[in-house]
């Protein structure tokens, strides 16, 4: 059932805007963590789960900003770059972790776009990484 809904959504979105053209896609999601930004940032630098899918490009301590590139190859998107930032929350013991991913669909030539290689498929696949990824990180930090 989930697959059918997903396919229908993919068809729907692929016929809407951004169905073609050289347009990079963006997925940006945030999670609030009950820990200070400093603690969350340190935890992020030592968190190995993200590195199963992404390679660290840089850690900028001053900006609390980590840059990643993709190491997984069997994915329905391409040219993926991402960054994860740790920002201040509403109080000293709260932080907001924001994950921003930029990528393209796999098919870059003339329309028609083959099924499974379009923007909607690429966005859905990245969301499958970002959402659960942030939830897992939150759980890990808050249980420490």
């Amino acid at each position: 059932m989930k697959k059918i809904i997903f396919t229908l959504l993919a068809i729907l979105f692929s016929t809407l805007a951004f169905s073609h053209g050289p347009t990079p896609q963006k997925v940006q999601e945030s999670v609030t963590i009950a820990a200070s930004p400093e603690k969350t940032w340190e935890a992020l630098k030592n968190y190995s789960e993200f590195e199963k899918i992404m390679k660290v490009r840089s850690f900028k301590d001053k900006l609390m900003k980590a840059k990643y590139e993709l190491i997984k190859t069997d994915v329905p998107f391409s040219d993926y770059n991402a960054q994860i930032r740790v920002k201040k929350g509403e109080n000293d013991n709260e932080s907001v972790v924001q994950w921003t991913a930029r990528f393209y669909r796999t098919y870059k030539l003339n329309p028609p776009i083959p099924e499974g290689q379009d923007d909607a498929t690429a966005v859905a696949a990245v969301k499958e990484i970002v959402g659960p990824g942030l939830a897992g990180f939150k759980k890990s930090v808050e249980s420490q």
């Binding site: 805007a17 963006k26 930029r102």
Partner: protein
């Protein structure tokens, strides 16, 4: 009786004077506002994520207006003398033309194919558009406001720039790692190799500068003897501008711009921008470098002399502005 007459004359003069003063004030206000409007420097930011163009006053550093254009606007060029802004919409395969005096959309030109980047000739009689999917460069006549010519070029034509000195049209072929140089009559002068994944172009005098995205470098090509030189910048550079023998380059993955001295061949400074800085343009009159930040939906404005950040201004979603986007 005499006294009364004098008084009435005096009264008439006073009222005339008041009317005249009002008239002069209105005239002054009318002309001063017009003069100001004509000379204002503005940045036009294409927001690919929400189908708008943000218009920024570069003198006060405030947003003046946000205009709805076609779907997924990306490329841009400005006719400085005619005060017209051309925006390429890759989602609706058309071009939005904005009158930069009143900041109103005045025309939509249908292309039927995705416009990636735009430039114009020196006389501002023609706009050239790279057509990403069909590997063409389209010519738009400004007088007719329609496509009047289509030239087949190498694969994935990406950046385009017009060299005023040599009257050349210059195109980067992203997936072929080449630059193609054409005469204004569309004859191929030269095809020259660049670094890997050439994208944004700048040209002035005898030189062309192109950002090589996958090589983290910029190639400089001499249009007279065809010699080349390459220098390293930050990660995934997208575009380059040059002024007074200094190159300004956006590093999309580093969230920085590189400022490189072309004489001493050294990086002068690397400045932090917003997230995913894609394109940049200069305003020499006001000493500004304006950078579009795709990732943070904003622009960063730096002082060209002090290299200090003056302001980061929010725009629409996914701001890009690939091309010349400042009305000088």
């Amino acid at each position: 009786m005499v006294k009364q007459k004098k008084l009435s004359i005096f009264n008439l003069k006073t009222s005339n004077l008041i009317i005249l003063t009002f008239f002069l004030i209105i005239l002054y206000l009318y002309f001063s506002s017009n003069v100001k409007k004509d000379h204002i420097s503005k940045a036009y930011i294409t927001n690919q994520g929400d189908n708008t163009v943000s218009i920024i006053d570069l003198e006060t550093l405030n947003t003046l207006d946000t205009l709805e254009v076609g779907v997924a606007p990306l490329g841009i060029t400005i006719l400085q003398k005619k005060k017209l802004v051309f925006v390429g919409n890759v989602g609706t395969d058309d071009i939005s033309v904005i009158d930069a005096v009143n900041d109103r959309l005045i025309k939509t030109i249908k292309l039927g194919t995705a416009p990636l980047s735009l430039t114009s000739n020196s006389e501002e009689t023609e706009v050239y558009v790279t057509d990403w999917f069909q590997n063409n460069v389209l010519t738009i006549s400004i007088e007719q406001m329609r496509v009047t010519n289509s030239l087949n070029v190498g694969i994935t034509p990406s950046g385009i720039a017009y060299n005023k000195k040599h009257q050349y049209q210059i195109i980067s072929n992203r997936d072929a790692n080449t630059l193609e140089i054409y005469t204004k009559d569309h004859n191929l002068v030269k095809k020259i190799e660049t670094g890997n994944h050439p994208f944004g172009i700048y040209t002035e005098g005898d030189f062309v500068y192109v950002a090589n995205v996958y090589d983290d470098s910029v190639s400089i090509i001499n249009l007279v003897d065809w010699s080349t030189y390459e220098f390293l910048v930050g990660a995934h550079p997208y575009n380059v501008r040059v002024h007074n023998k200094v190159a300004y380059v956006t590093n999309t993955v580093d969230d920085t711009i590189t400022i490189y001295d072309l004489d001493s061949k050294k990086t002068i400074k690397t400045l932090d921008t917003g997230e995913t800085p894609e394109n940049l343009d200069l305003n020499i009159k006001l000493n500004l470098v304006v950078v579009t930040n795709w990732g943070s939906d904003s622009i960063s404005i730096f002082d060209i002399q002090t290299l200090q950040l003056l302001k980061e201004i929010k725009t629409g979603a996914q701001s890009r502005s690939f091309g010349d986007f400042i009305l000088q």
